[in-house]
C-alpha cells in the first residue's frame, strides 16, 4: 500500500502509538494482508520502528504477512478430524504442494492453513476449500481436489463466501 492510501485510511486517527492496531486492521481489511511496504509507510507516519510494528502485528493471529492466495485450502485438525486422519491430509498437502500451514504456493494460487475445528465434527475428516466444506475426506479425494485447483484454478476460485454465511457442506461420494 502506498503512502497516500495509508494516509487516506488513517484520516480520522491521531498519529500516535495507540493508532497502530486500528490502522493495521484497516490495511489488512483493504489489502487482505500487511505488506512490507505498508509497514514501512506506517512506520513513517506514526514514527514507530518497522520492527516494533512487525512485532505487534505478529503477536495477533488476525494479521497476516503474505498476500492471500487465490484459493483457500483449510485442513481441520480438531479432535474428531484428528481421529479420522486429519494429520494424513495435512501431510498430503505438504507432499502435493510443499505447503505448511500459513503458506501460499509461489504462483499465489493456493493458500493453505491448518485449523482447529470447522464445526462439523460429525463429518470428519473435513477440508474447506474456498468456503465450501468437503466431508469424510481421504488422501485420494484430497489429491483429486488439489488437482482440480491446480489445473482449473479459475473455475473453483469463483465462489466467494461471506463471513456470516454458514458453510455449505458438500457430501463427496467415495
Amino acid at each position: 500500500m502506498e503512502r497516500s492510501d495509508i494516509i487516506q485510511l488513517s484520516k480520522d486517527l491521531v498519529y500516535e502509538k495507540g493508532s497502530l492496531i486500528p490502522l493495521l486492521q484497516r490495511v489488512q481489511q483493504t489489502e487482505g494482508y500487511i505488506s512490507e511496504e505498508s509497514i514501512r509507510e506506517i512506520a513513517r507516519l506514526l514514527k514507530i520502528s518497522e520492527n516494533h510494528i512487525y512485532g505487534v502485528a505478529s503477536f495477533y493471529s488476525q494479521f497476516r504477512f503474505q498476500k492471500p492466495g487465490k484459493n483457500k485450502l483449510k485442513v481441520c485438525l480438531g479432535t474428531a478430524c484428528h481421529v479420522q486422519g486429519g494429520q494424513l491430509l495435512a501431510q498430503e498437502v505438504e507432499k502435493q504442494l510443499g505447503l505448511h500451514s500459513g503458506e501460499t504456493t509461489p504462483d499465489g494460487n493456493i493458500e493453505y492453513e491448518e485449523v482447529m475445528c470447522l464445526g462439523c465434527c460429525a463429518q470428519a475428516a473435513v477440508v474447506e476449500i474456498n468456503g465450501l466444506i468437503y466431508s469424510k475426506m481421504t488422501s485420494e479425494k484430497l489429491i483429486k481436489k488439489i488437482n482440480e485447483l491446480t489445473s482449473h484454478s479459475e473455475i473453483s476460485a469463483s465462489l466467494p463466501v461471506s463471513e456470516e454465511e454458514l458453510p455449505q457442506i458438500v457430501e463427496e461420494s467415495a
Binding site: S49, N51, Y54, S58
Partner: protein, 741 residues
Amino acid sequence: MKPIRITIDGRMVEVEKGMTILDAARRYGVYIPTLCDYAHLTPHGSCRLCIVEVEGSPKTPTSCTTPVEDGMIVRTQTPRLRSLRSELLRLFLSEHPVSCLVCPEQDHCDECMITLRKSGVTTGCRSCPKDGRCELQELVLRIGLDNIPTYPVHYRNLPIEKGDPFFDRDYNLCVLCGRCVRICEETHFSGTLTYLARGNKTIIGTAYGRSHLEVGCSFCGACVEVCPTGALVEKYSKWDGKPDGEALVTCPICSINCTMRLETKKGEVINSLPAELPGKGQLCVYGRFGIPELVNHPYRLRVPQMKEGLSWRNLEWDEASQVIAEKLFNCPADGFGCLISASSCNEDLYIAQKFARVVMRTHQICTPVVDTYGGGMAGVMRLLKQSVSIDALDTVRSIFCIGLDARYAQSVVELNLVNARKRGAALVTLHPKEHSLSLYADQWLQPKEGEEAQLIYDLIRAIHNKPIPVRKGMSKENVKQLQGTAQFIQRAPLAILIGPYALTSPNNINLIPAIEELSKELNALIIPLPAEGNLIGSIMMGTYPDILPGGVIISDEEQRTRLVNRWSVPMPIHEGDCSFWKKPGKLQVLMMIGENPPANVSETTYVIMQNIYPPRQSKVDFLLPSAAFSETNSSWINYAGVMHLSHAAVRPPGKALASWEILCRIARLMGARGFDFTTPEEIQTEIARIMGGFWEKGTVDRFNMATTMSYKTRKPNPEGEQDYLGYPLSHWAEGLQSLNI
C-alpha cells in the same frame, strides 16, 4: 515526606515512597534472585524469579514491580518461594541446554579438552561462550535445583545467526528476559529488536527476519552487554572466557571521548564496553566493536626499523634514537617539519610541539585537520571555544541538530536525544540526506547539498516573522515547514548540535557563521561534535605554527614571553603557514606522528614515521613503533573542553613506546634540556604550570584560546569515515566495512 516502614525477613527498615520491594531489599543487602531485571531499565516482571510473600496477600507478587506500602511485611526466603523459584528455573531450563549444569565431569572438562587432536573440538559441556559468566548458570547454582531435567527438553533448533558483523545470535540459548528488546527500545529512536509471534513460539528478532544491517541497527552493542546468557555474544571475544583485568580508557575515535571499560586477558584487550551500564553508558559501533581489532592487529609495529636500500633493518632503541638524533642535528630549523595526528593525547601533542620549538627551533608543526576543515577552521575554533557538554540536553526544551547523523559514529548522542524527547523537548534536524533522526524528529529540514547556510538564514527570517523569499525549487510547503520549525526552536532554552557533516561541509566557511548568527539570535547552547579525538587538545597544546601552549596566538606578547622565559629558547614571531608539509621539497626531515606521509613527498626528504601501524606508501625512511591509546596513561580534551584522564589497560606490544617517550629520548641525545620526563603525569604537571590550574578543573579554561589560524587551504577535505592515527578504522577492524555509510 514521611518515610515508610516495612519489614523484610523480620527486619524493620525505612524506605521512601515510590520504591519497589526489590529496591528496598537491595538497599538493605537482602538478596532476591532476578533475571529480567537490569539497572537503568524499567521493571518488566517477566521472569517471575523475584517473587516474594507479602503478609495478607495470598499471591506471590514480583518484587520488581510491586511498590512498597507502609507496614508491609515481606518475606523473601520461604520454602514455598524456594520451591516456586526452582520450578520456574526448571521451566527455563526445559528450553535451554543444561549440560553445563549437570555433567558429572564438568570440573575436569577444561583439563580433558586440552589435548592435541587433529580436528577441532566443538562438543563438551563447557563449550558455551558464556560459560562462567552466564547469569542463568549462576542463578541455578545459587538457588539450587535437586533434579534439573524434570521436563522434556524443548530444543527449538533455531539456526545460529552469524550473518551480521560484530556479534553472533544463538536464540536457542535465549530465555526471553526481554532485556535486549527493552534496552534497544529505551535508548534508540528506531528499535531493532522486538518480540516476534507469541506463546511458546515467541522469539526475539527483526521485521521479516531481515538482517540487523538491513533494518538500520546502529550496533551500539547494548543488547549484547545486557544479555544474561550466551544468546548474544561478541564475535571477537566469543571464546575468550572471563577477562582477567580491566581499565577505564578514553576513546580517541571522536571528540566525544567516551570512557570505555576495556576488558583484558593475558595482556591483550579482548573487549570494550561503556564505563557505565547500558541505559546510562553507551558506546558507538566504533568504540564498542572496533577497538580490540584495532589495537591487537598483527600488523602493529613492534620494533624500530630503518630503511636500507629496499629492505628494512630492525634496530634497538639506543641505535635508532642515535641515528635520528644525528640526522636532526644536521637539519636546519626551517628544514624540519612535524605533522601530528589530532587523535593523539595531550602529552604526545605537547611534547611534539615542544620538540619542534625547543630542539629544532621551528614553528613548523601542524595537524592535518587544517586540511579537513579548510576555510572553516577558524569557524570551528570559534564554535569549540563556546561549546558545552551534551549533558545540557537534559534541561533544554528544544534541540536543533545540524548535519548530525547519529546512526554509527557519535551514536551515543542518541541516548540524550531520546531522553530529551521523552521529557517533551522538541527535536528538529537539518540534513540533506535521510539519516537516523529524519524519521523521528518533529521537523526534518532537507536542504540541497551546499544550501544549508541559506536555509538557516531563511529560518532566522522566519523567527522574525519576515517574509521568506520563495526560491527556485522551493514550495509553499517548505515555507510553512520553516515557519513551523521557527516555532519549535524558539522554545528556550535551545541547544544546537553540529555534526561532522556540517563542520566539514564544503560550504562550512558560510555555514558556520550562519549557525553562529542563529545561536546568537536565540541565545542557544552550542554543541559542535568534530570527528577528531582531541581537536581542542591539539589547539590547547599548541601544535600549530601560530598557536602556543595554552591555545594562545603567537602574537600575544605576554604569553610568548612567559614561554620564552620558561623554556629559555628564543621564539621569534613567526608568520606561520600550516601548509609547510604540503611543499615537502623544502623539507630535509619530515616527522609524521600518527599520520601517513603526504603522497607528494619529495625523494630528498627524510621521512621519520611514528605510528602503531606500518605506512601506507613506501616513502618512509625510519619507522618508530608507538603505543596506542590503550597502552599509556594519557589525557584528552573533548568537544566541550572537558578533560578526560585515561589509564593504560595493557603494555605496548614488542618494543613500542609512547610517542612522547620516543621524542624525549631523541631530545636528550641531542643535548636539549627540559625533556627528562619519565611518566605522563610529569608532563601533565608541566602543562598545568604553563597554563595555570589547567588540570584541577574538569573543564579547561578556553578564555585565551585562539580562534584564527593562518592557512592557505580553502576547500575542506574530510575523510569519509572515523579514523585513528591516519587510517580509517575499517582498515583494521574489517567488520566496519559492512556498515552502510
